[in-house]
Point group: C2
Chain length 362, copies 2
């Protein structure tokens, strides 16, 4: 039978995943047949997971913030999830169970990823979606108006899916805590970019309780590798269920069997790229995104301001469809605007070809 082949990345403008780093790919291939969910059987990959979590803690300011750095007694609390959805769902679950009120609610800006809709549905928590401001960031007045004494969790987004925006995280954390709720930051996509910006987003910048950061997005690990971190051990503890017939006592992950490839490739990618490689890529992507925005504006298109390297533009009716027919994997925002995510595989050369096709179809 003919061998199936995956897509090339040279026309993929719609994904928050990318070609993995070569070291990550190699590590994934070595660890394909391992399961960090069973650490007594697969001890080697379980050790790598501890390294991954420590590294994610350092990247997100958790080691600094909690004093859990070198020489400290306590490592960062968290685990390598199957992706941002598992991480976000588990953050909501932990908050629901720590808050422990009837009819708990979850407050998210409308820019939050649809994983929070899933989480609310799965977990039986009321979802309160609040408006964003004119620049697509969470409106803190709207957040404050939505929280009450049944709010379990308030979410801030650090690198939103559509516009790449960073919400005012310190203010959101204060609003959450004033209401007795927890605060979670979704930096699934932004987490490997934000350390090289002036944004206040991580554990060292604000008293947030948990955070999602996905190695399989801008971290250049292989799929599946998400990251969930908690400031306190209690966040993980409340998620744990007993595990008979495993030699470990309990398991906090949502998944049972998990991908050793994701874990090993996370360590390999971070070893290869943190911090200089990620900084170089952030600066490259930022430059490419601003250049693309300029090129589109020069063509008379309306383009949103670039914050993190995502470009949102109104290309007009039918243009996205025409570009998709030419093989461009381009997606649209909820409002129908074209959206280009400048991931590591998205180069000026690729975008020049894209602009050439755009000029022909519009």
């Amino acid at each position: 039978m003919q061998q199936a082949a995956p897509q090339a990345f040279d026309r993929v403008l719609s994904s928050m995943c990318t070609d993995p780093h070569p070291a990550a790919r190699a590590a994934a291939e070595r660890f394909l047949a391992t399961n960090p969910g069973d650490p007594a059987t697969y001890a080697e990959v379980a050790d790598l997971e501890a390294r991954a979590v420590a590294a994610l803690g350092a990247i997100t300011g958790l080691a600094t913030a909690s004093g859990a750095g070198e020489g400290a007694e306590e490592p960062p609390h968290g685990y390598v999830t199957g992706g941002g959805t598992e991480a976000n769902l588990q953050a909501v679950r932990a908050a629901r169970d720590r808050r422990n009120v009837d009819g708990a609610n979850l407050v998210v800006p409308e820019s939050a990823h649809f994983s929070f809709t899933k989480a609310a549905d799965v977990l039986g928590v009321e979802l309160r979606t609040v408006s964003t401001d004119a620049d697509h960031r969470a409106d803190t007045d709207a957040v404050a108006a939505a929280v009450d004494d049944r709010t379990a969790l308030v979410v801030g987004v650090a690198g939103s899916t559509e516009y790449g925006r960073v919400d005012p995280i310190p203010e959101i954390a204060d609003i959450a805590h004033d209401a007795g709720a927890y605060c979670h930051v979704d930096a699934a996509w932004g987490g490997f970019l934000l350390p090289f910006t002036d944004h206040a987003w991580g554990f060292a910048d604000a008293p947030i309780d948990s955070l999602t950061i996905d190695p399989h997005k801008c971290g250049r690990a292989v799929i599946p590798a998400g990251g969930l971190l908690f400031r306190d051990a209690a966040g993980m503890d409340v998620l744990a269920v007993d595990t008979p017939y495993l030699e470990s006592r309990s398991q906090a992950s949502l998944a049972g069997t998990r991908s050793g490839a994701g874990v090993a490739s996370t360590v390999a990618a971070i070893d290869a790229l943190w911090p200089d490689g990620y900084r170089d890529e952030y600066e490259r992507a930022d430059g490419v995104a601003r250049w693309l925005a300029g090129e589109l504006r020069d063509r008379g298109q309306r383009v949103a301001d670039v914050e993190l390297p995502t470009v949102v533009a109104d290309l007009g009716g039918g243009v996205v469809e025409s570009l998709r027919e030419r093989g461009w994997r381009l997606s649209r925002t909820g409002c129908g605007l074209a959206r280009v995510v400048v991931m590591p595989h998205v180069t000026r050369k690729i975008l020049r070809a894209f602009l050439g096709d755009l000029d022909e179809v519009r």
Copy 2:
């Protein structure tokens, strides 16, 4: 830095995962950077997922049972999950939302996997665990006594984690349906073994509503590859949430981004092994398990009867610990009995070495 290395499989007796089939490994490596959760971007792997679901449907009797085989209009309903936990949780979620009663409950035998404990906790469903009979199968009288008009789902296990037992699935399905509840079969481990036995377990054998079958266990795909199947489209439909900024309309999976490696390796493994390769392996493993049970009995150990190829034996106090110190990755049942899962990598040669060490330590 020194390169981390995974465990070898030559002393792993505790896992329901194994070394993937070479064709599965190769397909996984090709599709590492793909995401079936975003089919408009990663169309090639999305096509493979449809093939995987069709194949899983054929293996579990869904195509035959529903008439959805060749030439039929409707393909089997389901998707490739991150593993058995996601599949079981989603089955409970679908039943909860289809049943739609306040205070819904979930009835499982005590032999059910701990993923149902997680699912009940996550989903806010009352977990009713009922006793098993003397041979560790679900006691149908106990199941019947536990169901009521708030039961959303009754679970039968086809290949239990500890003893490899197959519950009386047709009777359980009848009990569930008489109460207005749904019936789910957990064949996460057993699904690729049971087609070669006389057990009544799948969609063609009983009016079950959903089933878990994990390619990354006895299917010899790579981790992560679980499988969830529904008899009716409504099972998947109730799980779907809207997906802005993806060019697809909705998403029924619990995870957002998912592993293309898991999907592609599922198709590759099934293409290579269904049915003859799986039958050969079932017959080999069955023979090895019965031989091991006999060897242990010859040494005066108490050994449970072998049903599917798992061997449970009372090795006496301290013996498992001593064997673990010699590098054997051996696990215990909830009652402390040693448990050997005869996966494809577990050969007579390996088990002779194990028996040699056992003779030395006891």
